[in-house]
């Protein structure tokens, strides 16, 4: 490979920087599979945007209804018990992405690939499977890509996140769910690849 890839630590900085600035500017964690979920959501498309959950307003309404039904004593009990709840945040998370915003994000990733290759003269329309794929799968590579894609799509939606959402952001925040998800998908990918290497070569 004549094209030297950028060193890993610079890439690490770039990835961290991207996820950090995303959180700062948009008020919510970066996640590609989430954006894809929105784009594929027919309701979001029809509505023009995803239904926005205004957490603060919802909490106000619930507290008001509770006071009305049970009196102020109930609120005192409520506030002491919710202190230990699993959601330490009482400030609403940044608004979820609308359909257009999700589409913009995904399209921009495509553009990123274009810029990365175009600026180095490495852009090339490749319709044939690369040698790295055919050496393992032969012509079955097309099926591998499609079936693998189905698994990636279904798996990331089921897990509620992918490499960015769980791996990059969730792990950095030490979320047990994300740590488990990341170890599972990395571990499975490694195990599968080792098997592929043994069986297919």
């Amino acid at each position: 490979m004549s094209d030297p890839f950028r060193p890993w630590w610079l890439g690490a900085l770039a990835l961290a920087g991207t996820s950090l600035s995303y959180l700062l500017v948009l008020g919510r964690p970066l996640g590609v599979s989430g954006a894809l979920g929105v784009v594929l959501d027919g309701d979001a498309l029809r509505a023009g945007s995803r239904p926005q959950l205004d957490q603060a307003a919802m909490e106000r309404e619930i507290l008001a209804a509770t006071r009305e039904a049970f009196g102020d004593d109930a609120l005192l009990q409520l506030s002491s018990s919710t202190a230990a709840a699993t959601t330490p945040s009482t400030s609403p998370a940044g608004r979820s992405l609308s359909w257009i915003e999700s589409a913009v994000f995904l399209a921009a990733i495509v553009a990123g690939g274009l810029v990365a290759t175009g600026t180095r003269g490495a852009f090339a329309v490749q319709a044939a499977l690369p040698a790295s794929v055919t050496s393992l799968f032969g012509a079955g590579g097309w099926a591998a890509l499609f079936v693998g894609g189905v698994l990636v799509g279904a798996g990331t939606q089921l897990a509620g996140g992918c490499t960015s959402g769980h791996g990059l952001v969730g792990c950095a925040r030490l979320q047990p769910a994300s740590l488990a998800a990341t170890m599972t998908f990395l571990g499975t990918a490694i195990a599968t690849s080792l098997v592929m290497q043994q069986v297919l070569r």
Partner: protein, 141 residues
């Protein structure tokens, strides 16, 4: 730093997406051979890039935590099963969702097949989940 609204969000998302796609491409995450070498434990460069990003982010997030408290993600039934399916697919395609989009930008037309699979899998799963499964995957917006 303030959370931006309106068209500023679209611009910000555009910039973030561009950065992500550029980085994934430039690092080599879009190259099946490179990713396969990472998963077969022959070349750790990509793994170091990914793993290096986590502690850097961790430090930064900790510094910011007082400004922006974080709700805990639910550890639901789908986490492990979904992770396994995803890992299997990633080994077969060499691509995670972000990578597929970056590959398209690079001109890798064969990634359209991967994308078709991802779309089918995602859309089918969401419909199955809504009809039959009904547990909170933590993706409510």
């Amino acid at each position: 730093m303030n959370v931006v609204e309106g068209n500023g969000r679209k611009v910000a998302l555009g910039v973030m997406g561009l950065m992500l796609g550029y980085t994934l491409s430039r690092l080599g995450f879009t190259d099946f051979g490179e990713v396969h070498r990472m998963f077969t434990l022959q070349d750790q460069r990509l793994l170091f890039a990914f793993m290096g990003a986590v502690p850097i982010s961790m430090i930064a997030f900790r510094l910011l935590r007082s400004a922006r408290p974080v709700p805990l993600r639910r550890f639901h039934k789908g986490i492990l099963a979904g992770g396994a399916l995803f890992g299997l697919g990633w080994a077969l395609t060499g691509a995670c969702p972000g990578v597929v989009f970056a590959q398209l930008g690079e001109g890798k037309a064969y990634a359209l097949v991967t994308l078709a699979g991802v779309v089918v899998g995602s859309a089918a799963y969401v419909r199955v989940h809504a009809k039959y499964l009904r547990f909170d995957r933590g993706t409510c917006g």
